[in-house]
């Protein structure tokens, strides 16, 4: 079972990295949160019986862990146990403009509240209202209301001169 799990996580680790990136600013915190999410996923893996999509299950646990877990604020700490390259925003993509825009997007998202970050992330991941409602625990109509508010807020945060957000 452990092998199946590690394979599953390795293939879908992008989800966890994205959650870590929007909830933690520094590498040490990201590494800690990554570990914590993996452990929570592992604990819950046995009870996961394919009732929902793998991604929905992973988002649910990752967001629950990121929002409810307590992490002491750390100064930039060198994480020695794990390689840290994977926590960085893409650095080999030749398109520098792409990188810059992505970094600005992450910065803007981090300025939102914890719940708003979860909502916008699920939106950006193209999740349906139904899946978002399932993960967040609110009704689909309220997902729509919340999402509209968050979109407006995000537009205000992202500098119009950089992106020309209308």
């Amino acid at each position: 079972m452990e092998q199946v799990f590690t394979k599953l996580i390795t293939e879908n680790q992008g989800i966890i990295h994205k959650v870590c990136n929007i909830y933690c600013k520094n590498e040490g915190d990201r590494a800690d949160l990554f570990q914590e999410i993996i452990l929570q996923l592992w604990k819950s893996y046995e009870s996961f019986q394919g009732r929902s999509k793998i991604s929905t299950w992973m988002y649910r646990i990752a967001l629950n862990t990121a929002i409810t877990s307590f992490r002491k604020q750390k100064k930039n700490k060198v994480q020695q146990q794990l390689s840290i390259q994977e926590f960085q925003i893409p650095d080999v993509r030749p398109d520098e403009d792409f990188e810059e825009k992505l970094a600005t997007l992450y910065q803007a998202i981090r300025q939102l509240s914890k719940v708003e970050r979860a909502v916008i992330m699920l939106y950006l991941e193209d999740k349906s209202y139904q899946e978002m409602a399932e993960i967040l625990g609110i009704s689909e109509s309220n997902v729509g209301v919340k999402l509209n508010r968050v979109k407006k807020k995000l537009k205000k945060i992202i500098k119009p001169e950089l992106y020309g957000v209308r």
């Binding site: 390795t10 570990q35 929570q40 819950s44 009870s47 629950n64 825009k101 997007l105 991941e125 609110i138």
Partner: protein
């Protein structure tokens, strides 16, 4: 740039560099972490375990002395306390796999409320315990409370000390977890306000 373009930007990002290998993930599974929830739940079970041992010893002593009424009473009281503990645990234990964000936050909120109330009750517990003790003693012995000056002086000293000590405890909890608790409460209220 429209939000749809941000969506495309988001979806086209790649996690380059050294991604975690299966060996890395397996290494993480072998590591031990100490998150706040685990500490609270561990403390919870530790308290239950120690209480059970103490009650078992007291009950055993009463049975040895053939004082079956008190033995029965300590079993009943411990059963009652154990049930309360279990009910609280069921209320606050987060199932990360099944609970939605709102449910997880409401459980956390409940947990902090319970701890907050417990801290307040601790301040007055000795006084309340004293009154309960007198009442139970009266019903068992069928005779009124006999005034004991030394005992009374000791109690009147312990009660204010416990009240005074509860304040640094409250300060310590606020200092260590205050910000996190406020953030959680904020997130909880944000989701609940939406429902209203």
């Amino acid at each position: 740039m429209e939000l749809d373009e941000l969506k495309s930007l988001w979806q086209n990002q790649q996690l380059v560099g050294k991604a975690h290998s299966e060996q890395d993930i397996q290494a993480i599974l072998k590591q031990k972490t100490n998150p706040i929830l685990k500490r609270i739940y561990d403390k919870f079970f530790l308290e239950m375990g120690i209480s059970s041992i103490i009650v078992a010893c007291i009950t055993g002593a009463y049975i040895y002395q053939q004082n079956y009424a008190l033995a029965m009473m300590s079993i009943l009281v411990s059963g009652l306390i154990g049930s309360v503990y279990w009910l609280i645990y069921k209320q606050v234990n987060i199932n990360f796999s099944l609970d939605s964000l709102k449910v997880a936050l409401s459980k956390m909120e409940r947990l902090f409320n319970i701890y907050d109330k417990l801290l307040k009750y601790v301040r007055y517990m000795l006084g309340i315990g004293f009154c309960i003790g007198i009442t139970i003693g009266y019903f068992i012995n069928k005779k009124p409370f006999e005034f004991n000056l030394k005992f009374f002086v000791l109690l009147t000293a312990i009660v204010p000390i416990s009240i005074v000590l509860s304040y640094p405890m409250k300060w310590l909890i606020d200092y260590m977890y205050g910000q996190h608790i406020q953030e959680l409460k904020g997130a909880y209220l944000e989701l609940n306000d939406l429902e209203k």
